[in-house]
């Protein structure tokens, strides 16, 4: 289940395109390859529509931006150059809400609590993610910092972009 980015989010589109290209280098499965190629085509269609003369967000798409090289587990930096609009939204979400490890532990997908996990200091909502049925995923539980598990299994894959950022993890 992919997020449908709008043309307002060109940086996230570039980021995912870059990750898909990485994945295409290593995948041997024809079905996966075809799914990735289809996804590439859809992302390009969004960019093409944005680049057309008169398109409302056409001018926003930067050429050769540095975000294209960002890895999916590398969260947006909290300091540095001024962010563009979509990144600003993520930063706002991260700044608005913070979680200690103890607070994060409550969000285990049980009872009244949605399922959150932290990766590289960013807290994501996985409640409705298909792979996180009932708040667990391949034996991993929500409510925890899963950075090392993420890096060992999903490096180079466009996973985190699909998730809603709900805050950041603090000590």
């Amino acid at each position: 289940m992919f997020n449908e980015y709008s043309a307002k989010d060109p940086l996230r589109i570039f980021e995912e395109i870059n990750n898909i290209i990485d994945l295409l280098y290593i995948t041997q499965c024809r079905t996966t390859r075809n799914a990735l190629l289809n996804r590439l085509r859809r992302l390009l269609a969004v960019l093409v529509s944005a680049a057309r003369p008169g398109a409302p967000y056409g001018a926003v798409i930067p050429a050769g931006n540095s975000m294209a090289m960002q890895t999916p587990y590398d969260p947006p930096a909290l300091s540095g150059p001024a962010p563009t609009a979509p990144m600003q939204n993520i930063r706002q979400a991260m700044d608005q809400r913070t979680f200690t490890a103890a607070q994060l532990a409550q969000y285990n997908g049980k009872g009244e609590n949605p399922a959150y996990v932290a990766v590289n200091g960013v807290v994501y909502d996985v409640t409705d993610q298909p792979g996180w049925a009932a708040g667990s995923h391949f034996g991993l539980k929500s409510g925890l910092d899963q950075t090392s598990a993420y890096i060992s299994c999903h490096t180079g894959q466009p996973m985190l972009e699909r998730l809603e950022v709900v805050g950041r993890l603090v000590k």
């Binding site: 041997q28 079905t31 997908g109 009244e112 792979g131 049925a133 009932a134 708040g135």
Partner: protein, 300 residues
């Protein structure tokens, strides 16, 4: 296409193993294809995969036994016993053969926790048998969860230190995970090997033909998931995502192929998919069912 007609794509997928098998039978009959020897080793497991294979239908086990292969050895089904059985095993190793392995490989204390027989006064451990046969076979097929990735035999705390077949050998292994393996997955893979060689495999060594999509992709309750309508208890007709269904992370064609003579499958019988065909089962797929799941404000 009317409602009573099956989806052609689904029907094509369901018929994939049968077509391979009938093609192989035709080629063997007209002499353009030779039968090959087959050895089926049962190691550290529960016999579930050979029982599943016996449950195969149209064509089934008898077809495998008589029309497709020279079935030389199986430690569960063969009539020979004791040293005589092991004599048959070692004589079979002298020729060309395809090796199917069911069960994991116990390695603790030199593998002595699983002994499949005695040969010349020495115990033949699972570890020894799979290495002796595995390095000589033309192809090795790991049948079922335990052989493919350790499965139940290697579940925590893994007292016999079981490992998958691939980890015990230094060669390529075709993995057919599933607890048990569907008869079609094995028979279809075998027919492909006989006619065309190795089928296309994914990064985990599974044939894309049978493991190309997730359970979730073709699940009959998928529209409920897409609309956010979830079952609250087993027996409800909606998507069992909130009950902990592992269909979204499990690659297999169960929704299309179904089980027990193509009659039904777990979700069709109101049970969650427990991910038995996914690597890491059972530990990584637990809990199999959850009831106290967060449902959000609109679905409490």
């Amino acid at each position: 296409m009317t409602k009573s007609e099956p989806c052609p794509a689904m029907e094509q997928s369901r018929m994939s193993a049968k077509e391979l098998l009938f093609d192989a039978e035709g080629k063997i009959k007209d002499g353009t294809l030779q039968k090959q020897n087959l050895i089926w080793l049962e190691l550290t497991g529960c016999s579930g995969n050979i029982i599943s294979l016996l449950n195969g239908a149209d064509p089934g086990f008898f077809y495998l036994l008589t029309a497709m292969t020279n079935f030389l050895y199986n430690n569960t089904l063969m009539s020979a016993q004791g040293e005589n059985a092991m004599e048959l095993f070692y004589s079979a190793l002298k020729g060309d053969f395809i090796l199917a392995v069911e069960g994991a490989v116990s390695t603790r204390d030199g593998g002595i926790f699983t002994v499949i027989g005695q040969y010349k006064g020495e115990p033949v451990t699972a570890l020894r048998a799979v290495r002796e046969a595995g390095e000589k076979a033309s192809h090795v097929i790991a049948v079922g969860a335990c052989a493919s990735h350790g499965g139940v035999s290697a579940a925590y705390p893994n007292p016999a230190e079981c490992i998958p077949v691939k980890a015990a050998l230094t060669r390529k292994v075709i993995n057919l995970p599933g607890c048990p393996c569907h008869p079609d997955w094995f028979l279809g893979t075998l027919a492909h090997l006989l006619m065309y060689g190795e089928p296309e495999l994914d990064g985990m060594g599974r044939p894309v033909l049978f493991y190309g999509d997730t359970i979730h992709t073709h699940c009959e309750r998928r529209s409920y998931f897409d609309n956010g309508i979830f079952a609250k208890k087993l027996g409800d007709p909606e998507c069992m995502f909130k009950l902990g269904c592992r269909g979204p992370v499990t690659r297999a064609d169960c929704p299309v192929r179904k089980w027990n003579g193509y009659v039904n499958w777990p979700v069709g019988a109101d049970a969650t998919c427990i991910g038995c065909a996914q690597f890491g089962f059972p530990d990584a797929m637990e809990p199999f069912v959850s009831f106290d799941t967060y449902r959000g404000e609109n679905d409490a």
